[in-house]
């Protein structure tokens, strides 16, 4: 049997990572004065949220490609 089966739900670190990124992606940890300085015209807090949004996209995209492999070998082998 193929030992390289990967299913995201069974890898705890994926979900801990996702949780941390989501925590960073909601601006609960900023104080009211953190509107300035503006970075590239974006308020300070918003810039951080934007960075975390990009990280979230990259992380999920990478997980899809690298941590998900259940029947792929079988299917591709049948072609």
């Amino acid at each position: 049997m193929n030992k390289e089966v990967k299913e995201p739900i069974r890898k705890k670190w994926i979900w801990i990572g996702l949780f941390i990124i989501v925590l960073g992606n909601v601006p609960w940890y900023f104080t009211d004065s953190m509107v300035e300085p503006y970075i590239l015209g974006v308020p300070f807090w918003g810039f951080f949220i934007l960075v975390f949004s990009v990280i979230l996209c990259a992380y999920l995209s990478w997980i899809c490609l690298s941590q998900w492999k259940i029947v792929e070998d079988e299917e591709e082998g049948n072609k």
Binding site: M1, I9, V26, M34, G41, L50, L56, C57, L60, C64
Partner: protein
């Protein structure tokens, strides 16, 4: 949508061209494929054979509808920078897919599922669960379809400056959609999505470029304007807004991922490789769509300050008029952009209608009314009832509700109640049908009552999320009190164990 005085006859020409392209694609999708009309999987899932390009674009064009632009730009305009949440809540959907899509794909291919209900029936073998699930899905899909029908009319009559009245616009596009869907089923829907998705993407990018140019060329000058005139829209969000933000992530993430038409796209994938590559690309799309639409709303604050409520809903139309006036290049780009919005709405509506019909064919007719009927007949029944449903909804659509976003949240409140049954059921063998049934029913009632009594959110948390929490507690608590259902069924146990055995 605003009266687009710039368009008129040019708009009609572009819309006609788009409609013809859709019809041609529909015709060629259905031609020479006898199988399409003879089998449920052939018609509703394109034979489970969608390749990477078609699958990616059909995921994209289905998830992002015209409303994503027409409704979200005003939302960004009204709420300011805290609407950055629209990027996160569209991205998180992929994270939720990763919870269940990999295993569901394997089981669905093995057992030849056509609708989401097939999985619930296979897992729980309970009439009660199946019926409540069908009801919630048909309700959610119907509401979604209604929203698209309202939006088509507003977009077209706006674009043609009222030359084509609202009702005529809807009727024409509904006929186009019905025609290509009738001819090619899911294959036609997916192939038209490729064209519709590309037009939409080009349109949004051009729209933002035009908007930034109009607002003075630099984003810094826009935020400076907001800081001086409407500082609340740039301020650090309040704690209630943040709680609401988390709640939105849960509601949209869980709700959108188990949309019946979304689940059917998992079934329709040609292979696991195709599916995961499509999802990997989809994970980036929020930046290019809701992210750019967010920018449009923010630019709008400077270009058209002081719009409120219904007036702010006209924002995209107002901006398009201004951008079109820059030069002939932008004029044509704006016309294509509005055609793109119409195409995007149609591409969402067609997927929802197809899914609606499949629930009628495979679940209502095929499981309860006449299970012995031929597949050809089941497909026919679904197609015809789908047409009746469209015209029933049209009748309601003639009186469109005010703010599009309100109805968007309403459908999630109920659909999301399927989540515990659907996903927990994939992994937890103890989960049994009676608590699942009551969890769905009570969760849906709680969410419905909260919403209808004006408590759409409580301390920032959506009624649907509160209903879902109650639902989860009933499912888990009740399952510990009853005996397991999955263990008595060897076929099911094999499916649920399959992945573990392989590893």
């Amino acid at each position: 949508m605003g009266e687009l005085t710039f368009a008129g006859i040019d708009g009609i020409v572009i819309l006609t061209v788009f409609a013809l392209i859709m019809l041609v694609i529909g015709y060629y999708s259905g031609r020479g494929e006898k199988n399409i009309h003879e089998s449920l999987s052939g018609y509703y899932l394109a034979g489970g054979n969608l390749g990477i390009i078609a699958l990616f674009f059909t995921l994209f064009a289905t998830q992002y509808s015209g409303n994503t632009i027409v409704g979200y730009a005003p939302a960004a305009y009204r709420t300011g920078f805290s609407w950055l949440q629209s990027i996160s809540f569209m991205t998180i959907i992929i994270g939720v897919y990763l919870l269940f899509a990999p295993r569901l794909y394997v089981i669905a291919k093995k057992r030849g599922f056509v609708t989401p209900t097939d999985w619930l029936q296979h897992r729980f073998n309970s009439k009660g669960v199946t019926l409540v699930a069908i009801f919630l899905m048909l309700w959610g899909l119907g509401n979604y379809l209604l929203e698209q029908l309202v939006a088509i009319g507003q977009a077209v009559s706006g674009m043609t400056g009222g030359t084509i009245p609202y009702q005529a616009a809807v009727i024409v596009f509904v006929f186009v959609m019905l025609a290509y869907e009738w001819m090619g089923g899911m294959k036609a829907v997916a192939f038209t999505d490729v064209m519709q998705g590309i037009v939409l993407l080009i349109g949004i990018i051009a729209f933002v470029a035009g908007g930034v140019y109009l607002a003075g060329g630099s984003f810094g000058s826009i935020t400076q304007f907001i800081a001086e005139n409407e500082p609340a829209k740039i301020a650090v969000p309040s704690s209630e807004t943040n709680i609401n933000w988390f709640s939105m992530l849960v509601l949209v993430g869980l709700g959108a991922s188990i949309y019946p038409h979304a689940v059917q796209r998992i079934y329709a994938a040609k292979s696991e490789k195709t599916l995961k590559k499509s999802f990997a690309r989809m994970a980036w799309m929020p930046l290019l769509t809701t992210g750019l639409v967010f920018l449009v709303g923010i630019i709008g604050i400077k270009l058209f300050p002081g719009l409120e409520g219904d007036a702010s809903e006209q924002l995209v139309g107002l901006m398009a008029n201004k951008i079109a006036a820059i030069n002939p290049f932008f004029y044509w780009i704006m016309i294509i952009f509005f055609g793109g919005i119409v195409a995007a709405i149609v591409s969402t509506a067609d997927s929802v209608l197809l899914s609606f019909s499949s629930l009628i064919s495979n679940d209502v007719y095929g499981k309860f009314i006449k299970p012995s009927a031929s597949e050809h007949r089941k497909v026919m029944v679904g197609k015809i009832i789908g047409i009746f449903a469209i015209f029933g909804l049209l009748w309601i659509a003639w009186n469109p509700p005010g703010t599009l976003y309100d109805i968007f949240v309403l459908k999630f409140e109920l659909l999301v109640q399927l989540f515990p049954a659907f996903v927990l059921g994939l992994y937890w063998k103890r989960l049994s049908s009676t608590p699942v049934f009551w969890g769905m029913v009570i969760g849906a009632i709680a969410a419905g009552i909260l919403t209808l009594t004006g408590h759409k959110t409580v301390v920032g948390i959506h009624g649907g999320v509160i209903g879902l929490a109650i639902n989860f507690i009933i499912c888990v608590g009740g399952s510990f009190l009853t005996t397991s259902s999955a263990k008595k069924n060897p076929v099911l146990e094999e499916d649920m164990n399959a992945v573990y055995i392989k590893a």
